[in-house]
Symmetry: C2
Subunit: 350 residues, 2 copies
Amino acid sequence: MASMIFTDCSSSTMSRLIHLDRRNGAFLPHPCVGQLSLRTTASGRGCTLSIRSSSSPSAIVINGKAEAKKIRDDIKIEVSRMKESIGVVPGLAVILVGKNEESATYVRNKKKACESVGIKSFEVGLAEDSSEEEVLKYVSGFNDDPSVHGILVQLPLPSHMDEQKILSAVSIEKDVDGFHPLNIGRLAMRGREPLFVPCTPKGCIELLHRYNIEIKGKKAVVIGRSNIVGMPAALLLQREDATVSIIHSRTKNPEEITRQADILISAVGKPNMVRGSWIKPGAVIIDVGIKRVEGRFVGDICYAEACKVASAITPVPGGVGPMTIAMLLVNTLTSAKRIHYFQSSSDLKG
Amino acid sequence: MASMIFTDCSSSTMSRLIHLDRRNGAFLPHPCVGQLSLRTTASGRGCTLSIRSSSSPSAIVINGKAEAKKIRDDIKIEVSRMKESIGVVPGLAVILVGKNEESATYVRNKKKACESVGIKSFEVGLAEDSSEEEVLKYVSGFNDDPSVHGILVQLPLPSHMDEQKILSAVSIEKDVDGFHPLNIGRLAMRGREPLFVPCTPKGCIELLHRYNIEIKGKKAVVIGRSNIVGMPAALLLQREDATVSIIHSRTKNPEEITRQADILISAVGKPNMVRGSWIKPGAVIIDVGIKRVEGRFVGDICYAEACKVASAITPVPGGVGPMTIAMLLVNTLTSAKRIHYFQSSSDLKG
């Protein structure tokens, strides 16, 4: 199931799609999105939003696009401050192997996002039939390059390559994707701190924080257990003292479990899988699933139904997607600061 | 909460206590234990035991002591086969710092268990006021010593030492405790294999396997989220396709969640915390909690009540405790085999 998740949904595509009229159709999200600009006036750091216990006629839309923009603006200021203070420009290296069109789009968007905030981007494009050794050579080169503070190997890699070996070769100090097993191990362990947290789940939690949604003591359910979203999202929720359950393809009657969730994160990639009847009235819904259906992006959550039951929900697109790239920029900046002992401003912490 | 768990309950103490008459008293386990020898005739690899969906008047007792003995017997044969074939004797090094009486007992029992199966044990006892550097020096020495295949730093360490730093210094190839964050990371990740799994949770799952209790698709609830039991137990259950929920000190109304569990693992150290009313009829209960109350060992589960509701249950003592040391021996043997490329016999796989 997890193979269907597109955690990398590009912000530019989102901005194009966010204004589209998307009505009806079995696999299409419903008009709740039309309320985006109106409802999200309650968003941002200043507001308070508690999980409502009663049913809600129309959920607050969690505007990931707007929050991601605020984060990018903060990063831009911080990158500039760093450059002026110590003459260092954060650098992100991306290694892309093969001609996967989606991957190429993601890499292009990451590059654009870097440029927009002043982070220097390094890009290596290798042929599909490159050897594992070639990729490892570039990883090693970037590990040693002092102008590179983050290294990202775009997944999926061609099937003849050992993904585990390549990801583990990335220096843990530059693992801005947070996929190194040492970072995941630290994320799982109490009293340990990962150097980086994977971008998409980090973006999910950041949205909850930015909307002042309480996590501690809440029942959280994560649908999907992928290494890149579901599993680290569950670990993050647990670190914040939620009581976490993880649903996957072997779970019987998943709706019985989702109905108990105060916070529901879905990262499966099955359009409209989660119906309104699966959702506890007043729950907060974070929809990571994104799939193109008939030319439009659709999430895991049946949006029109969920809007009537949940207290808050992320739209697809314009919810978690833009946060993923924003978190990648945060991780890159954090890495550069750590490597150069440059202090964070109080507004922006990795 | 988790600080109260004694995962290291010595098998010798257990064998002394298992025949004691333990009746009544608010914090004492109840007479179900008296049926131990009778009920456990159904145990072992050959039997089949499915989770019963209806209530059960008296649960099958999962006899960890007997299973651990079988495992130790298998290890003894395998150690001997290895010695005869390639002249290698597996070696386990234990580092004990300070004079904590319980730790000293654990270390003594580990040493005895090693000797009983032919594993060579190396022991270092350091004074409470030793420096971190001294401990690290011994870790490093054992890392380099080809006759040592497993290194165990007995916890807790004195408060002036950085536990994280010391545990991370143990070579991942000799981390028979499985506490290295790299091993935990691999345990958490799909498609990755840890070199070692922590002994107590591994023992819990081994008991489920040996009693042919199905895990896949079942609802499993773990109480406690410690690095040494709760968290890795949850990860193991998830690897076996259970739908896992983790309960901890911040969970509201935990009994609502435990009541849904087909498999319940408790690792908290609060005597008799889990009442019969917390348990789903027919559930399988693994009780890791063990605490001395008025001179006797008591688990997390109110045993007398649980026996009437569960379909199977581990006693305390004599359940998970003996399995912990057995798993440590398995991990040490596995390590020696891996280092010396010695093939496993089909009966005993790490």
